[in-house]
Amino acid sequence: MKKSILAISLMSVLCSGVASANLHINGFASIKGGMSTGSDKSLYGYTNEWDFKNESLFAIQVRSDLGDRLSVTAQLMGRGSNDFDARFEWAFLSYELTDNMTFNAGRLRTPFYIYSEFMDVGYAYEWSRVPRSVYGLGFDNIEGVSLYRTDQLGQFDSTLQLVYGSFDGEAGFGPTQLQNLAGLSWQLGQDWYSFRAAYFSAKVTIDTLALNPLLDGLAGAGLGALVREMNFDDDKGTFFGLGLTVDRENLIAVAEYNKVDVSGSLFAKRTNYFVSVGYRINEYTPFISYESVDRKAKSDIYQPFLPVLPSPGLRELVVGTIESQAAKTNTVNLGLRYDFHPSAAFKAQYSSEKNKISDQRNDALVVGVDIVF
């Protein structure tokens, strides 16, 4: 018998009972260059000078099957925006409880969105990047445990993921701690379409560095009640998301919607969505997408306190701080994916974002290559 390396590795997989460390190494990379069309139109970190670093990244994933249903997966990624300093994006162990149920523990990607777990693998989708309007929570990974379960419910494939853990890091406002982060995502679909729903909640504590002087001043003025309404001190954060995917014949359509809030804080209530449609013409896939961000400032926080705020200056500062959390933008993306190689795709995408509050338009043109290996 002719023994190829493949046959040997295959045999070691097939010989159950023999403990063998089976190593799978995969990688992906994106090399992207882009710029905005004007000096006053910065978007996604691009200015009006060509930048090849901002969204480029390299990653290596190692998965080791330790036998007896146990495996370890680690992904090391270097992002251009972080000077390609490699860090563990995730690292977890997996234990297959049954054929359709897997328990994971370690640093995991939280399944907030449809593309959460492969949002960095550009090769897996048509766009140059996942829609920032919807994928903009500020953090992606947690330390914790998850249970992944697949079922066949009649004609449907069901994928359920339960997650519990915590986050400690930077998520936009300042050093952030999320405790008791718990939730689930559920996807139900058939061969060419799927629906998805996700819900997560957590206790949110943030050291809002830029706001501390104001909050300290308010506390000093005996307005502790207002401080508690504004700050993030063990407040309940919730995330609710819905998604839809269609991939039929040559049509690819995706839509996602989510609502995010942190009650008892100045966090503006966020409602975000996007709709994307692409059409495959052999190796070419042109696409168009529309994104929307709506962050409603919580004006009712300061209303009852207006009469008791000691000075007009302080009143203005409180109102301004809370109102400045508001945002409203619409983004249109036009792009093309070209599968020029079995393992690589060339992409070009133009994004134009309209800020409905400042009436400013920002844009970015990005070209690049996404590779899997």
């Binding site: 046959a7 799978h24 992906f28 054929d99 777990e117 090769y123 897996a124 079995p342 393992s343 899997v372």
Partner: protein
């Protein structure tokens, strides 16, 4: 080299030359009595199912990427282009949720593996089928 090997060799030569577009047969070990529908085959090769109808675990084996029969199988059995499948698997691989089926370099190797393990599912040109394996589904 016996007659059987010559037949296989010949059919794979003809196939690789693109001269014949004959049906593919999905095959299992003769002692495996499980039934497989086109839907079942698709589920196994997409990593959505991992067992035969009788509950025994199933191991699908694929032909290496770029081999003549592979693209045909991707399109007939899985209803997807090779590029679509690559994107599909990259989603599962990079989330640690699955690995694509193991690959072999020839139909000959495929036949040998199916003939030696009741858990394995494979596919070969219908003409290459012999008594060592059982056909569960024919893909025209």
């Amino acid at each position: 080299m016996n007659v059987r090997s010559i037949t296989i060799l010949l059919s794979s030569v003809l196939l690789s030359a693109g001269l014949v577009a004959e049906p593919l047969a999905v095959i299992v070990h003769p002692t495996n009595v499980a039934e497989l529908s086109a839907e079942d085959v698709s589920r196994l090769y997409l990593g959505r199912g991992r067992t035969f109808s009788d509950g025994n675990s199933a191991i699908p084996i694929n032909l290496a990427e770029g081999m003549p029969g592979r693209e045909r199988f991707d399109e007939r059995a899985l209803n997807r282009s090779s590029a679509q499948l690559k994107a599909y698997w990259s989603k599962l691989v990079f989330t640690g949720k699955g690995t694509p089926p193991q690959e072999v370099d020839s139909f000959d190797e495929m036949l040998k593996l199916v003939a030696t393990n009741p858990s394995i599912v494979g596919y070969v040109p219908a003409a290459a089928v012999d008594e060592r394996v059982r056909v569960v589904l024919q893909l025209d």
